[in-house]
C-alpha cells in the first residue's frame, strides 16, 4: 500500500487496520521503519506525511491487539525478527500498552526504542496530563479517535455486550466517566464517543489532544535524536 501524499489518511478504510497488518511505503529509499500499532496508524501516517518523510516505511500490526495486550510483545518481537536487517533504523510506535514491561524486554533485546508512557491515551494527552487525569478519577474509560470509531466492534461486540447486556455492570460498573481524547476534529467521531458514554452510562468529557507527544517522538526518531523512554504513567481500558 502506498501512502497518500497529503494527509496519510486517505487510503485508510474505516476498519482496515483493526484486523489486518498493513504496510505503507514512501516513494523514497525507505531506510527507516516505524512499526506501529494499527490503532494509531492514521495518526502515525499523518505525522509522516505532514513531514514529507518519503524515506520512512510504516508497518502496522492489527489494531485489535489493543484489546489483548498479552499478545503485543510477542507480535512485535516476531515482526522485528522477520524484518531484521531490512531497515537502517527502526522505531516501535507502541507505549507499554498494558504489557507490564514485556514489550520493553523485547525492545531491549533488539536495541529499539518505543513511545514513552503507559498507553496511547498517555502520549496523545501528554503523559503528565494523563497521569493527573487518572488520579483525578481512576474510574475513567478512555477513547481515542480509533476507539471511538471502533467502539461497537471492540467493546460492544468484542466484549459480547450485544449478546449479554446483563454483563454491563460486571464489566463497567466501576467506571464513572468516559473521556474522549480526540486527535482530529471530527463531528461524527465526537457523536460516536458521546453515544458510547451514554451506552455505558458514564459522564462524558471531550478533550482535544491532537497528536500530542506522538509527533515530537517520531520527529526525534527520524532526526536520529536518541531518547530514553520513561516507563511513565497510568491506566488503560481493559476491564
Amino acid at each position: 500500500m502506498s501512502r497518500a501524499a497529503d494527509t496519510g489518511e486517505a487510503r485508510l478504510a474505516p476498519n482496515d487496520l483493526l484486523e489486518e497488518e498493513a504496510v505503507f511505503s514512501g516513494s523514497g529509499t525507505n531506510e527507516l521503519l516505524i512499526l506501529a500499532c494499527g490503532a494509531i496508524a492514521r495518526e502515525v501516517l499523518a505525522v509522516v506525511s505532514l513531514n514529507g518523510w518519503e524515506h520512512v516505511t510504516v508497518r502496522c500490526l492489527p489494531g485489535k491487539l489493543h484489546q489483548t495486550p498479552q499478545l503485543i510483545a510477542a507480535a512485535v518481537d516476531a515482526k522485528l525478527h522477520e524484518l531484521k536487517g531490512r531497515y537502517e533504523r527502526v522505531f516501535v510506535a507502541y507505549a507499554d500498552c498494558g504489557t507490564g514491561g514485556a514489550l520493553d524486554r523485547v525492545l531491549e533485546a533488539h536495541g529499539i526504542e518505543r513511545l514513552a508512557g503507559a498507553h496511547c491515551y498517555g502520549f496523545f494527552a501528554g503523559n503528565d496530563a494523563f497521569e493527573e487525569m487518572h488520579e483525578e478519577e481512576p474510574g475513567t474509560y478512555y477513547l481515542t479517535d480509533f476507539l471511538a470509531r471502533h467502539f461497537d466492534a471492540l467493546v460492544i461486540r468484542g466484549m459480547k455486550l450485544d449478546r449479554y447486556p446483563q454483563l454491563m455492570p460486571d464489566i463497567f460498573g466501576n467506571y464513572r466517566r468516559l473521556v474522549y481524547l480526540s486527535q482530529r476534529d471530527d463531528p461524527d467521531l465526537l457523536e460516536r464517543a458521546r453515544a458510547a458514554a451514554a451506552v455505558l452510562g458514564l459522564a462524558f468529557e471531550h478533550r482535544r489532544t491532537g497528536y500530542g507527544e506522538l509527533q515530537p517522538a517520531l520527529e526525534r526518531f527520524v532526526a536520529r535524536i536518541e531518547v530514553t523512554p520513561s516507563p511513565a504513567s497510568t491506566g488503560d481500558n481493559r476491564t
Binding site: 495486550p69 498479552q70 481512576p138 454483563l167 464489566i171 511513565a232 504513567s233 481493559r238
Partner: protein
C-alpha cells in the same frame, strides 16, 4: 436449560453433576439453581454440592479460559451462574458451621478500579472453604493495613490490571514489613500484566496467574504454614 427437553430431576446424581458442569460452562444460572436444589433434596451436603458441582465446574471453565477457548464474557456468565448456586449454599454452610480452611483479605490496589479477576479469585477461594474479606477496588495502603489488623487473615491478596498500579503492591508489602506483620501473613498477587518475576520482586509469597491457581496456591501455602507451625 441447555436442552429444552432435559428434565434435570430425571438424571442420576452423577449425570446431574456433569450436567451442572455443562450448565456452568454455558453460564445458565437458572439451571444451576435447579441443580443445586435437586442435589440438596437428594441429601447432598452443601459442602459436597459446592465442591463437586460448582467449584469443579468453574475449574473446568478456568482451564478453558487459560487456554484461550473461553473469554472474559463467558467466564463472567459462568461466575454469575456459580454465584446463583452459592447464594443457596452460603446460608446452609453457615448453619453447618463447616470449618474454614483459612481467611483471606483481598482487594484491588490504589488507582485501579478493575475487579473482574479479583472477584473470580474471591469466589473460588470462598468455594474452596476460605472466609473472604473483600476490600473492593482502589485501596490505599492504609485500608490494607487496617483490614489486616482487624481480620488477622492467613492471606493478603492484591490485584492490579494496570502496568502503572501494579508497583503499588510493593508499597503495601513494604508497609507490612515496616509494621512487622509481613512474616505472619501470606501475600498473593495477581493481575493480567503481572508475572512470576514481578511477584518475587515486590516480595510476595506467590504470583497467581488465574483464579484456579490462586485457589490451589492459597490452600497449599496455608496448609504448609500450619504444618510447619505444628512441627516447630
Amino acid at each position: 436449560m441447555s436442552d429444552d427437553q432435559l428434565d434435570l430431576s430425571a438424571l442420576t446424581d452423577d449425570e446431574l453433576v456433569a450436567q451442572m458442569h455443562d450448565d456452568l460452562y454455558d453460564g445458565l444460572a437458572d439451571e444451576i439453581v435447579i441443580g443445586t436444589n435437586l442435589l440438596l433434596e437428594r441429601g447432598w451436603g452443601p459442602e459436597k454440592v459446592l465442591s463437586d458441582a460448582l467449584v469443579e465446574g468453574m475449574r473446568i471453565v478456568g482451564i478453558d479460559f487459560r487456554d484461550g477457548i473461553l473469554f472474559v464474557p463467558e467466564v463472567l456468565l459462568a461466575a454469575n451462574a456459580m454465584k446463583a448456586g452459592m447464594a443457596i449454599l452460603r446460608p446452609l454452610l453457615a448453619e453447618t458451621g463447616a470449618e474454614r480452611i483459612g481467611k483471606i483479605v483481598i482487594g484491588t490496589v490504589k488507582g485501579d478500579i478493575h475487579d473482574i479477576g479479583k472477584n473470580l479469585v474471591a469466589m473460588m477461594l470462598e468455594g474452596a472453604g476460605f472466609e473472604v474479606v473483600d476490600l473492593g477496588i482502589n485501596n490505599p495502603v492504609e485500608d490494607y493495613l487496617a483490614a489486616l489488623e482487624e481480620h488477622q487473615p492467613d492471606i493478603l491478596g492484591m490485584s492490579a490490571l494496570l502496568t502503572t498500579t501494579m508497583p503499588y503492591m510493593k508499597v503495601v508489602i513494604d508497609a507490612m514489613v515496616e509494621k512487622g506483620i509481613r512474616d505472619s501473613t501470606i501475600v498473593l498477587v495477581g493481575g493480567a500484566p503481572l508475572n512470576e518475576e514481578f511477584g518475587m520482586a515486590v516480595g510476595a509469597d506467590a504470583y497467581c496467574r488465574d483464579a484456579a491457581v490462586a485457589s490451589e496456591t492459597a490452600q497449599a501455602l496455608v496448609l504448609a504454614r500450619r504444618a510447619a507451625a505444628a512441627a516447630s
